[in-house]
Structures are given as structure tokens and as C-alpha cells.
């Protein structure tokens, strides 16, 4: 028989001011199964907790109801107290008399009566509670970092330096990401590559990091601590072990007109190529789509010139499966190309550039070796216009959000231009200047005051070409919406940052949620910004939302910290409030009939098929099984299961039905 203890808390006067706590305790004493019922000023205090512990020991309580504040506040406190007295912590429930009763109702009979009802409800629930034990799952102390940009690099290094193994997967032939393309960085104007390259090398050389470049994640199964990742290593057609990285092949390749991705199409590369001189690993790959041999079956010049004989045309793609305990997604972002903008010429004008293209022009390693020259004719632009919010904050274009980094990089671009073309004139069309960040506002001010960049508040409605000039038509809203027309030599659009193509597919592979713009969703916008809703999968950098380098690095370190915390123990314990499919003796084995309609209802792919076999190994029945590592305890499957074969611990059918019955009971 149940022996329930009820402990009614006054919470100072927080509860007792409107609820007559002594009456509640008295009423509870009369509930069937209640053998102990008291009220006290502060149940959460040491003496209060002692009362609970003593009562458990002295009266052999089989369940405890603490009628006090919200369980979201003190449930761990009281469960701990019960546990210390030898009662399974899950045999303790709380009735929320403070947030849901005393604070929201006036003093009176009805309020006390409601408090009694709430206590009755929890007494009936706790009678049906079962002792539960935390779920333990082993942890594979290897992290998978998807993406080798600055966020991925930072996360990998932090995890690796924490003493854990890392497997990094990068889609491109080299790590480095967008940061490697940048000329200088705001607000310090230090050289991007100078600060990034050492980190890239560190990744390559770190004993704890395994790097897979030119590789993609194609599958992820399992659950926190125990994932199995499937990675496709695309054939590089070069034996990396033998290749010395001399790059002779790249100079001899007859295909020389391929637009360079690294240079945003402003430069060319060969079919066998190293994306940029500081690439890590610094070994070439053959781009099969452009290679003459792969296209025509003839050429093989690279093979002939390779002194190390490292070319392998017949190299296949390789699928590797790795066991990992956590995943950091750091797949970054991309930007809209100029072709997205009809009003700015649909990308027809070669001198209308994106911000990233301008970065390449301004970069010493870029196609112009750092000189700002027009792609069309190589001339140095005398007048340059920067347009912010190209696509961003424009619901008509489907992008409501601010791309966040543009205001700062436009200021940087304008400054770089002014530093390189002293006599040039630069204009910035902007909606607002968003320069929140350490030294950011000062940086923009510097552009305006020291470098004489002309900031025009207004939108550009149209760009068209006239006599080799780009005519930029806009308005200056600070001058009374006066029409402005500028004859520019070059226009740079701060095009909207968007999710990478394939982000949606990746999210589905990883079973993480994503927003309407295909950025990955964090578990909580404020309090869990680096976690996803799938335990063990974390976010770093711009794949979650646009962010600049320091923010990406900070989030990456945050994610790495989370991973290292996860890896700090060899076993993981989780609250056992998870769904369970019933099992019974033969011949039934389970009331589950294996329709598996619960599978699509589960947001976590936690429902597996289990074959029940006889001694000879013959399958008798296939039933559902909830993987305790994956289940997060939402209970959607429970409400959906027709035969009620799934139940959820902590919110069982018996418990919730008893609660409903009890709360509506007439006195």
C-alpha cells in the first residue's frame, strides 16, 4: 500500500498569504494513502528538507509530494533530499502552489480549495510513480567537426587541445573557409590569412585531429555519445601520401580557364589544382568535371610530369565509417550572387561585384595582387559605390533578416579602397548602420571621418551602364529624399548571406531542425545557443545564423566546451523520463503489433525495430523499441500508439489519467 508524505510549504508568506497551508495539510492527511502531512515555513530550507528526510525514514514513505513552488524551480532540490533519505528521487512530485495558485489568486476559500485539489492530483500521481534510474550510455570520446572554416577550425583545436580526438570533414580541397578569402578583417584591419594560416597548419599537424578534406558527411546514425558517421572521401586522383606538393602538375595542366572558386570567379585555375597557395593540405586534387582526361580519356599530362608519380586516375571514392560521440556543425554560409538582383543588372555588368569578390580584389594573394582593378578592363576605379542590404532585410526578396556582417565589411572595403586609391571617391548607400560590437562604431566613424567615405542614407533603385560607366540611381533620404545619381566605375553589393546549398539536406541527415531559411536551429535562442535539439549535436559559426569572425570563434569555443564537458566522463547519465514499449511474457511478448506508425511521429528517430526470436533464431514478432539514448521524452508516440503499447516514464497513462480524475474529484 502507498504511504505518501505531503509537505506543504508556506514559502515565507508567498504561499501562506493567500492559501491556508494548515488546511491544505489537514485535507491532504485525509487523502487515501497519505500517512504524513505537515506544513512548514520553508520546505526548501535545511530544516525543511530534514523534515522530509526524517519522515521518509521514520514513516517508511513510498512517495513524497512537496506542495510549494514550481517544479521547474525546486524539483531537483527535493528529489535530491528524498534520494539522501533512501527514497528513489522519482518518487517525489511537486504540487505547484506558488506560481499556479497563491501568486495568481486572491486570498479566499476557492484558492485554498484549488491548492487542495492540486495536492490531491499530485498524491494520486505519486502513488503511481515507479522508481526510475538514470540512463547510462557510454561515450565515444571523438568529435566530428563538419566544416573547416574558422568556426570548425576553432572548435576542432579546442576539442583536440582538451585531450579529445577530432575528425574534421571539409567539402573543399582545403580547409580555411571564407576567412581564407578575406583580405583584411575589421575592426583591426589585420591580414586575415596571416592570423588564419597558423591555425590551419595547427589543425593539420595536431596529433588529435584527423582531417578529411574533399569529403562529405553522408550519414549519421546513433545518438549522443554513440554516433556512427558515414563520410565519403571523394577521389582526389592524387596519392596524398606520395605527393610532395611541388605543384608542378598545376603549372602543366592544359585546362587553365576554370573560374577559381577561391577567387570568386575573378581568377582562373587549372583542372588539377591547389585552391590557394596556403591551402591545407597543400596538395592538389583533380577536378574531374573539368579534367581533359576524365572528359575525353586523353591527356594525362599531370601524370607524366609528376616527379613523385602520385597521380591516380583510377582512385575510387572512399566511404569511411567512424564512431563519434558528438558532432559540431560548422558548415558556414554562402552569399547571394549578383545575378540575384534584377535591379542591379542580373549580374550582367562585370564591374558590379559582391563583397567577397571585392575581398579578392583587395587581397594581396588575389587575382590583382591586391590592386583594386575593374574586372572588365583592368582600370583602377575612380568612383566606387557600395550598396548595403542587397537582398537583406527585404521581405520582398524573401529575406527578412539582417545579414549582420555587411555594415562592417562595407566600411572596411571603403577604407581599403581609400587607402589604395587615394584620389578615388567612395560612396556607401545604406539603410541603417549596424555597428554594435567592440570598436565597431569607432571603425565606421573612422571610415567616414578619416577616410572621407561618403555615406548616403538611401536605397539604390537601379544600376545601368552608360558609356562604360555604371550609373547608380538612388535617393538620399537625409537630403529630403533627393534623387541621387552617381557615375561609378565599380559597384560592390553587400549581398545577403544565406545558408549553404545543401544545408537542408545536411540537417535531415543529421536529424537537426532548421529554420525557414535553412539555417540550423539552436535548442534555445538565448540559453542554449550552441546546442541543437538533438542531444550531442552542436552548432558553431554562420550555419546557425550570419555572424562575424569573433562571434563564430566564440560560438565554436562554446561548442567545443560543450563537447569537452560531454567527453569529461566515460559514461553519460540522462533523466529516465523516456518512452518505453511494453514487453511481456510469451506468447504475447509485447502488445505492440509493429505497425511502426509511431516512427514518423518521433522527432528523434528513436523508434527502432526489434525482432523477437525463438531459441532457434526464428523471428516470431517484430515490435517497436525506443532507443533510450535517442529518446528525449516528448511522448508524441505515446499519445499516438493505438494499442497503448508505448508509455512514457514519469508521465504514464496511469499517472496522467489519475491526475485528471483527482483534480476533478468532488469533495
Amino acid at each position: 500500500m502507498a504511504r505518501i508524505g505531503v509537505f506543504v510549504c508556506h514559502c515565507g508568506e508567498n504561499i501562506s498569504a493567500t492559501v491556508e497551508c494548515d488546511k491544505v495539510a489537514q485535507a491532504a492527511a485525509g487523502f487515501p494513502g497519505v500517512v504524513h502531512s505537515i506544513d512548514y515555513k520553508y520546505m526548501c530550507s535545511d530544516p525543511g528538507q530534514n523534515m522530509i528526510r526524517e519522515a521518509i525514514r521514520e514513516k517508511n514513505l513510498t512517495g513524497v509530494v512537496v506542495a510549494s513552488c514550481s517544479p521547474r524551480m525546486h524539483e531537483p532540490t527535493f528529489r535530491q533530499a528524498c534520494s539522501e533519505a533512501g527514497l528513489n528521487p522519482f518518487l517525489c512530485e511537486m504540487a505547484n502552489l506558488r506560481e499556479h495558485c497563491s501568486w495568481v489568486h486572491e486570498k479566499g476559500e476557492a484558492t485554498t480549495k484549488k491548492a487542495i485539489d492540486l495536492v490531491r492530483m499530485m498524491v494520486e500521481k505519486v502513488k503511481r510513480n515507479q522508481p526510475l534510474y538514470p540512463i547510462r550510455v557510454p561515450v565515444t570520446k571523438t568529435a566530428l567537426v563538419v566544416g573547416g572554416g574558422i568556426a570548425g577550425i576553432q572548435a576542432a583545436l579546442d576539442i583536440a587541445n582538451g585531450g579529445n580526438k577530432v575528425i574534421m570533414v571539409e567539402r573543399e580541397p582545403s580547409i580555411g573557409g571564407h576567412m581564407s578569402q578575406l583580405s583584411e578583417t575589421f575592426p583591426t584591419l589585420d591580414c586575415s590569412q596571416c592570423i588564419l594560416t597558423p591555425r590551419m597548419v595547427e589543425v593539420a599537424q595536431h596529433p588529435n585531429i584527423t582531417l578529411y578534406t574533399y569529403a562529405e558527411l553522408i550519414g549519421l546514425d546513433g545518438f549522443i555519445g554513440n554516433f556512427k558517421a558515414k563520410i565519403r572521401k571523394k577521389a582526389k586522383s592524387v596519392d596524398e601520401k606520395i605527393c610532395t606538393g611541388c605543384a608542378l602538375c598545376t603549372t602543366k595542366c592544359p585546362q587553365k580557364k576554370i573560374p577559381s572558386e577561391f577567387n570568386e570567379g575573378l581568377g582562373k585555375r587549372t583542372a588539377i589544382y591547389v585552391p590557394f597557395p596556403q591551402a591545407v593540405p597543400n596538395k592538389p586534387v583533380i577536378d574531374k568535371d573539368h579534367c581533359t582526361y576524365y572528359k575525353t580519356g586523353k591527356c594525362k599530362i599531370c601524370e607524366k610530369v609528376c616527379p613523385a608519380q602520385a597521380i591516380r586516375f583510377d582512385q575510387p571514392d572512399e566511404i569511411v565509417e567512424v564512431a563519434v560521440g558528438a558532432v559540431v556543425i560548422a558548415t558556414g554560409f554562402t552569399i547571394h550572387q549578383t545575378g540575384f538582383f534584377p535591379e542591379y543588372g542580373y549580374g550582367r555588368y562585370p564591374d558590379v561585384l559582391t563583397g567577397l569578390q571585392f575581398e579578392r580584389l583587395a587581397s594581396a594573394s588575389g587575382p590583382t595582387l591586391g590592386e583594386i582593378r575593374r574586372p572588365s578592363d583592368g582600370k583602377i576605379p575612380e568612383t566606387i559605390v557600395f550598396i548595403s542590404c542587397a537582398g537583406s532585410r527585404d521581405p520582398a526578396k524573401g529575406i527578412e533578416y539582417c545579414s549582420k556582417i555587411c555594415c562592417m565589411y562595407i566600411a572596411k572595403h571603403a577604407m581599403l579602397y581609400q587607402h589604395k586609391v587615394h584620389h578615388g571617391k567612395s560612396y556607401v548607400f545604406y539603410m541603417d548602420i549596424r555597428a554594435g560590437g567592440k570598436m565597431y562604431e569607432e571603425f565606421v566613424r573612422r571610415a567616414i571621418t578619416e577616410d572621407q567615405v561618403n555615406y548616403v542614407r538611401g536605397r539604390v533603385s537601379k544600376i545601368y551602364e552608360r558609356d562604360g560607366k555604371l550609373i547608380v540611381k538612388g535617393v538620399d533620404t537625409l537630403m529630403g529624399a533627393e534623387a541621387v545619381e552617381i557615375e561609378a566605375d565599380m559597384v560592390v553589393l553587400a549581398t545577403a548571406g544565406i545558408a549553404n546549398p545543401g544545408a537542408e539536406e545536411l540537417a535531415q541527415t543529421l536529424h537537426v531542425s532548421y529554420d525557414g531559411h535553412h539555417f540550423f536551429s539552436e535548442a534555445h535562442p538565448k540559453l542554449r545557443p550552441v546546442e541543437t535539439n538533438t542531444a550531442g549535436i552542436f552548432l558553431a559559426g554562420a550555419c546557425q545564423a550570419l555572424k562575424d569572425i569573433p562571434e563564430s570563434v566564440a560560438q565554436a569555443s562554446g561548442a567545443a566546451g560543450k563537447v569537452n564537458i560531454l567527453f569529461s566522463k566515460s559514461e553519460l547519465t540522462r533523466e529516465p523520463l523516456i518512452a518505453v514499449v511494453n514487453r511481456s511474457a510469451p506468447p504475447e511478448y509485447s502488445t505492440c503489433v509493429g505497425c511502426f506508425l509511431c516512427q514518423p511521429a518521433c522527432p528523434y528517430q528513436a523508434i527502432e525495430k526489434e525482432e523477437i526470436k525463438d531459441r532457434s533464431g526464428k523471428v516470431i514478432k517484430t515490435v517497436a523499441r525506443v532507443n533510450p539514448g535517442l529518446c528525449q521524452g516528448c511522448g508524441t508516440c505515446v499519445a499516438f500508439c493505438r494499442s497503448k503499447s508505448i508509455d512514457i516514464q514519469g508521465y504514464t497513462h496511469e499517472q496522467v489519467l489519475a491526475e485528471v480524475m483527482a483534480v476533478l474529484e468532488n469533495d
Binding site: 514550481s70 499556479h100 484549488k114 485539489d117 492530483m121 505515446v638 499519445a639 496522467v656 485528471v660 468532488n666
Partner: protein
């Protein structure tokens, strides 16, 4: 008994992460509302079995509130989406059977909407007060009373 003002019995089925927390916020903000509503906590609206609504009416509830996270805000990503489908179909079935769906308030109340929770409760209470006690369903549940009343 007859002179007593009708105080409806209302039970609320809410999810732990949004509406339960929202109701906590109503408390911490000291916003007052009618004491007729009692909350039963669930991990997620996805967990709320449609049978529980019938059971509540059978036990004499005059009104029911079902509330959880706003779409896209579900702690479990999609439990509320599943719940929404369930309620779309269940509500239509109840209505077809002549069970008063006007007595069921469905809502999304986030953890930040303490004031919305109070308003929702008050609206529901005053609406149910206007409708009066819900006896149709309870009567069939307490079918035996007619036979045993004479005792």
C-alpha cells in the same frame, strides 16, 4: 445549492516547456486570474491523449484548456505540430458527435506569455460561465445516478 453562483471546473492540459513555464511566469509576475483552472503538466502537447479530454468531461469538467508551444517553438521540434493535426481531426469529430467543442480552448502560450495565460484563463472561465455547466457528457458518465439516487 441552486443559489450558488456557477463556478466552472476547468482542467488545463499544458506542455512543460512553454505553457507550464508561461503559467509560472504569470505567477512570478503576480498577474491574477480565476482559480477555476487547474493545470495538468505534460512533457509536450504531443503527449496529450485525446481520450483525456473525454475523461475530463466524463468527470465533470465544464471546460478544458489545451495549450503548448507556438509552432516552430516546440522543445521537441514537432510535438506541437503532431498535436495540432490531432486536434484538427479530433475537434471535428467531437463537433460531429454533438460534443460542445466551444468548451475546449486550444492555444499556444509561450514561456514568455505570462499575461496571455492569465487572459486565456479568464476568457475561458467567463465563456464557460456563460455556457453554464456541461452536463450532457457527464450525465452519460454518471448514468447510474438515476438508478441509485433513491437509495
Amino acid at each position: 445549492m441552486e443559489n450558488k453562483i456557477f463556478e466552472p471546473k476547468i482542467v488545463a492540459f499544458v506542455c512543460n516547456w512553454c505553457t507550464y513555464a508561461g503559467a509560472d511566469l504569470t505567477g512570478t509576475s503576480r498577474i491574477k486570474y480565476a482559480p477555476n483552472v487547474k493545470i495538468v503538466r505534460f512533457p509536450c502537447t504531443g503527449r496529450i491523449d485525446f481520450m483525456l479530454l473525454l475523461k475530463a468531461f466524463g468527470e465533470g469538467a465544464d471546460g478544458i484548456i489545451v495549450s503548448g508551444c507556438h509552432p516552430n517553438d516546440c522543445h521537441y521540434t514537432s510535438g506541437n505540430f503532431h498535436a495540432r493535426r490531432r486536434w484538427i481531426s479530433f475537434r471535428s469529430l467531437l463537433d460531429f458527435l454533438g460534443i460542445d467543442t466551444g468548451r475546449i480552448t486550444f492555444s499556444w502560450v509561450s514561456a514568455a506569455e505570462g499575461a496571455k495565460w492569465a487572459a486565456l484563463v479568464n476568457d475561458t472561465v467567463s465563456r464557460i460561465k456563460e455556457l453554464g455547466p456541461y452536463t450532457d457528457y457527464e450525465k452519460v458518465a454518471r448514468y447510474y445516478e438515476e438508478e441509485v439516487n433513491h437509495e
